[in-house]
Symmetry: C2
């Protein structure tokens, strides 16, 4: 295992500490228990947004903490849900008196631990709602999930719900818009290579030199099928067809197209994938109104990418365009 | 070779086309000869900034085209300088009547081809100045360079000179600030793995499973030494000591600390490196005023990172903070 790390046990602590040093204008890092909150938390009179999950998917979620997006992120160990304790601490830290929304990717551990934390917060008098993202069309159930997995759509939920909270919406309104984004977003990913969890030291699966996995999860969980490596355009076609059929997206729809890198894939390849995805949508009469290309929800150094499509309405477009200032997404401020 | 590409001969064309589709609000992609210009080029009464070089270092340079930074980027084939023809076309396309600055990384091919293009532009009546970046302290001469190589400092030159041009400075003033940034910036990088140039299909060098290369160039050119893999903190110490000694940076200096990923290294590792770099600077009484962490000048899917330090003055800080709107760097708009 070749990684830029010290003791594998301290990967998350040290990385989050570095993140806090690099972005001290935006965030405070609390270490006991570990969570990352907006530097100015709690923001009085604003719904607080908390997300979190296993580490290894950076910049998700700490990279999205800041004005216009999340109020707190709770990093677990690599590919492991955080426990209820730090989720509760983060929830308390961002409660500005208007309630807190938990944004939770649909993995069994995350869902359970966020539920427990929400119950404990409620006992302390904090109103908590949760939205569970489940945009991955690849598989129904999987290694860590009952139902569909939450993947790239989570980033879009966090941005758009964050803007809703930022303009002063109520907890009910922020939760509604988060649910609406989740209902209109679909994703699917693929990998060329596995990744190595630092404390494990070995790849969690192997792929032959000419093999790729279609529909892979963000922890390397099995997808739909293993196939021989194909040209980029053919791979994009394999990912985008099930996405389009699922909602379905249809001619005349306005969408946000998000091509996401898994961590180890260079940008030059992501734009090759974007080009074909845009071509397919154009052929179907689907209009790309907004786009996002880059590493936003990753799997350590895994090589591969995912495609996410969100069907937009006017309100979502306005909230997407609203100012945001986080380490990983920033515009308008 | 496992990559998300179609025909290896079309990697750059297709990627740049995808980039143009994803960022049509910011850029125009011209294909004959290939170059990327600001959507609103030329901007009348503003010095035009043109950079370029071999592809494979994305988001450098096309990702930095937009208001507040570059007016045009000229991508060559992967790891190969663009010819004078597209450099001349880009120079003409961005000439707003106030002259054009070429920002050139110090590689023999780039320097020669930008010089030829500048001569041709001058013959057409366009005033051109060039700044050649050479911030890499690792080696004196190398495979493609006489003198030091231009690496991470180039990104900072492009941002700060871009802001200088954006506020209406003359060509002489923009060139002066670009030279000043270059004179105050130093870098060094390392790699865990090689990368594969698509049309070659094979890694250009190999590293044993327990070996890393210290001082590597952004095309995988040899650095200072190959050593056994060490903990992150020890590697950071090996990179940062020669940087600090070189200028030298001293107690009381205010700096921008830039930890750059080589393309295949996950963010979780970059922040571990940032943490140690910040610790070393603090121990020396050097104050980090600004920071940048992420993949900004890469080597395809190479795993590794580089450290860049820029000694700041008040004017540079103001220009760094000035609004910028490009695909890869954006704030304030």
């Amino acid at each position: 295992m070749k990684k830029i790390i010290n003791d594998p046990k301290h990967v998350v602590d040290e990385s989050v500490a570095g993140f806090g040093l690099a972005h001290a204008d935006l965030v405070r890092v609390e270490t006991d228990p570990i969570h990352v909150v907006r530097a100015d938390a709690p923001v009085a009179g604003k719904v607080g947004l908390v997300s979190g999950g296993g580490s290894g998917h950076e910049p998700l979620h700490a990279g999205f903490v800041g004005p216009g997006m999340l109020d707190a992120a709770v990093p677990g160990a690599v590919f492991t849900s955080p426990t209820p304790d730090p989720i509760l601490a983060a929830t308390k830290a961002v409660d500005g008196g208007k309630g807190v929304l938990h944004i939770v990717k649909n993995y069994t551990g995350d869902v359970l631990n966020f539920e427990t934390a929400a119950d404990l917060a409620a006992a302390d008098g904090i109103e908590v709602r949760a939205v569970v993202t489940n945009d991955d069309v690849a598989v129904k159930d999987s290694l860590y999930t009952a139902g569909r997995r939450g993947v790239g759509g989570t980033v879009l939920v966090e941005k758009i719900a964050g803007a809703s909270a930022d303009r002063g919406d109520s907890l009910e309104q922020v939760a509604e818009i988060a649910e609406r984004v989740n209902a209109n977003v679909r994703s699917m990913g693929m990998a060329l290579t596995p990744c190595i969890v630092p404390h494990a030291g070995e790849p969690s699966f192997t792929l032959a030199e000419d093999e790729v996995e279609i529909g892979i999860g963000i922890h390397g969980e099995p997808g739909r099928e293993r196939i021989k490596l194909e040209p980029a355009d053919a791979i994009v076609d394999r990912l985008i067809a099930p996405i389009i059929e699922d909602l379905p997206y249809a001619s005349g729809d306005r969408v946000l197209l998000f091509v996401n890198g898994m961590g180890g894939t260079p940008q030059i390849e992501l734009y090759i994938a974007y080009r074909r995805a845009a071509e397919v949508l154009a052929e179907k009469g689907i209009s790309i109104e907004r786009s996002l290309v880059g590493n936003y929800i990753t799997s350590l150094e895994m090589q591969g990418f995912s495609i996410t499509i969100l069907k937009l309405d006017d309100e979502m477009i306005g909230l997407w365009d609203a100012p945001v200032h986080t380490a990983a997404l920033r515009w308008g401020r």
